[in-house]
């Protein structure tokens, strides 16, 4: 039964290979990827149902004991993240079918998307620091390739900072994995957590923790390490930008949660305080950047960094309720952010441009789109009873309880400014009468059927986020269970280390 644990990684890899070598018929390739994406969603939900009891699923590869071989672990949080990544991938893949005709799609796009999903999923299920590096590399190499695959001459140079910053981050990750091996003598996360608990308070543990925080800070887009993000995401096609914005930065958040809650001892107070303050700066500065931007993708890309701030603030506060709120916020954010990018895509195809000064008249032309956008924008800004409210409310309440008044003010300020920047899109793209006689960047128009299909996909995602908002109680309970399991390293440790395979007990 536990052999299913590796399938969230293997299934997308197989799909990518079938797509690459399985013939030249583009339509057939689409069917393969769509069916596989549906199967991945089903698998992720099945695994989620298996972990509800609280015991993580563990698979040791090759039958070696965890301290010798590679262990894959799915606990509550990993299962939630798997569900989200497969759902968003499914939505983005279906959306991209409507976005491009069968003949015009780049043949490498679908296989690379599947490899990206494989990398993301592997980094959720791996229980080993070096394997996590490999998973990150699979994910990042696929993301580099997708970033430059269809970029034009002017856009491609924006990929360069993305590449350099992420390669730099990966090398630092490698070095910190080496340091962790030197300090703890192992790379298995469960064993590191066991040994770090015995070394509580030592300088070496804090050093490794800070190194890893820098690495995942780069991946997650934390102030002052986020500047590569808002310039590189806008060069992607909309369906891919939605996948990137939903998942890639959240992988950084996931690993930070895993490291600080499960692996390292909870006494790293100073690291938490630094994280909280960086989160405050990230929230406010990134949302100011969003206001300064004048095109839809730019505004939305800056918002990613700003929203990351809330999740980091929750990690920085480090109370059980705050961690639960962080997980809830991740669930909300992945759905809302990707659907906003998809809405931006529909607006782009209707208007022929995504520059706000040349847009207009969308409310008249597409009222359904307007309603969907408004719901998601309110949700992002945190208006009750939409899904964004509950996460933000809990985080602000927790920061007040921790007497971090400045951080609470920063969080509230950032959400007001989020509303302002969303109003900017609303007023110029939807409300204003359309501006005619302007040169359009995009002459490729879509048929009505495609637009309806795209709106339908976005509609389902909006319905999901409404469902999260209206059933906040249920989702907060799920997050609380995941957070409790995350904050109690003994569950993770005993699940991984109790499996004895070849090589005997550690």
């Amino acid at each position: 039964m536990n052999n299913l644990v590796i399938w969230p990684f293997v299934l997308p890899v197989i799909t990518a290979l079938v797509c690459l070598f399985g013939g030249r018929v583009a339509l057939w390739r689409r069917w393969v990827v769509a069916c596989s994406a549906v199967a991945q969603v089903a698998l992720a939900f099945y695994l989620q149902a298996q972990t509800v009891g609280g015991t993580p699923l563990v698979q040791v590869l090759g039958g070696w004991s965890a301290h010798l071989g590679v262990a894959l672990v799915i606990d509550g949080l990993a299962a939630i993240m798997l569900c989200l990544s497969t759902l968003v991938a499914l939505a983005c893949i279906l959306y991209s079918f409507f976005e491009l005709d069968v003949e015009h799609g780049h043949p490498l796009r679908l296989p690379l998307t599947q490899l990206l999903v494989a990398g993301i999923n592997l980094s959720f299920i791996t229980g080993d620091l070096f394997n996590m590096f490999v998973a990150f590399e699979i994910m990042l190499v696929a993301s580099y390739a997708l970033l430059t695959l269809e970029a034009n001459d002017r856009h491609i140079k924006e990929a360069f900072p993305y590449l350099i910053v992420n390669i730099f981050g990966s090398t630092i990750f490698l070095i910190s994995a080496g340091m962790a091996y030197a300090v703890f003598g192992t790379l298995n996360l469960a064993q590191i957590s066991e040994r770090a608990a015995q070394m509580e308070g030592s300088f070496a543990v804090a050093l490794v923790a800070v190194m890893l925080m820098v690495v995942f800070g780069i991946k997650a887009g934390v102030f002052p390490l986020y500047y590569w993000l808002p310039n590189s995401y806008p060069i992607l096609p909309y369906s891919l930008a939605a996948l990137y914005s939903g998942m890639l930065t959240k992988v950084g958040i996931y690993v930070l949660l895993r490291m600080l809650c499960t692996v390292f001892p909870h006494s790293l107070d100073r690291v938490h305080i630094v994280l909280g303050w960086l989160a405050g700066f990230t929230m406010v500065l990134a949302v100011l950047g969003a206001i300064s931007r004048n095109f839809v993708r730019g505004i939305l890309s800056f918002h990613i960094a700003s929203q990351i701030g809330y999740m980091l603030l929750a990690i920085g506060l480090f109370t059980p309720l705050a961690i639960a709120a962080c997980i809830f916020y991740v669930i909300h954010h992945i759905i809302v952010k990707s659907s906003l990018f998809l809405i931006g895509g529909i607006a782009f195809f209707r208007n022929g441009t995504d520059h706000l000064e040349r847009m207009g008249g969308l409310w008249k032309a597409a009222p359904v789109l307007g309603v969907l956008f408004m719901l998601q924008a309110f949700s992002l800004a945190g208006i009750p009873p939409l899904s964004g409210f509950w996460g933000k409310f809990t985080i602000v309440a927790e920061s007040l309880r921790a007497e971090q008044y400045w951080l609470a003010i920063a969080a509230l300020l950032a959400s007001i400014l989020t509303m302002v920047s969303m109003m900017k899109i609303w007023l110029q793209a939807f409300w204003r009468p359309s501006v005619s006689s302007v040169p359009l960047e995009n002459t490729h128009t879509l048929t009505t059927a495609s637009i309806v299909g795209m709106t339908g996909i976005v509609g389902v995602m909006v319905a999901m986020s409404l469902f999260i908002g209206l059933n906040a109680e249920t989702f907060l309970q799920v997050s609380t269970h995941a957070a409790d399991a995350l904050l109690d390293p003994t569950i993770y440790r005993s699940a991984v280390l109790s499996i004895i395979g070849k090589g005997g007990a550690p």
Binding site: T148, K157, A159, F160, H355
Partner: protein, 115 residues
């Protein structure tokens, strides 16, 4: 022996940092290559000084072995580093063809009609 390795890694990090901060992106490329190799060497040095120890192949009568794990990690990291270097070279080649410059500052100078 460990001191030598530490010094070598330190010097490599210093050179690569200098190169990564240059304007010409050919130098940045070399900075990156040296940086990843410094990282690999760092991991390798985690297995400790190889003095008086044997290669990690089990033989009768030998008790002291070099730690094999960092070596296998470095092998993986080298392969990944090669892949990234190839990708970076191809990207830079494309950028050179597109913008006819190897200077970062000229590359990012706003053009007419840019938003």
């Amino acid at each position: 022996m460990q001191i030598d390795t530490a010094l070598l890694v330190g010097v490599m990090f210093a050179i690569s940092t200098y190169l990564l901060l240059q304007r010409s992106f050919i130098r940045i490329l070399f900075g990156f290559i040296i940086f990843s190799n410094a990282g690999n060497l760092f991991i390798l040095s985690m297995s400790g000084a190889p003095k008086d120890r044997n290669m990690p192949i089990v033989k009768d009568g030998v008790t002291q072995y070099v730690d094999p794990l960092p070596q296998s990690l470095v092998l993986t990291a080298i392969v990944i580093g090669f892949g990234l270097a190839v990708y970076l070279i191809m990207l830079l080649y494309r950028i050179i063809l597109d913008s006819r410059t190897i200077d970062i500052e000229k590359m990012f100078k706003p053009e007419e009609g840019d938003e």
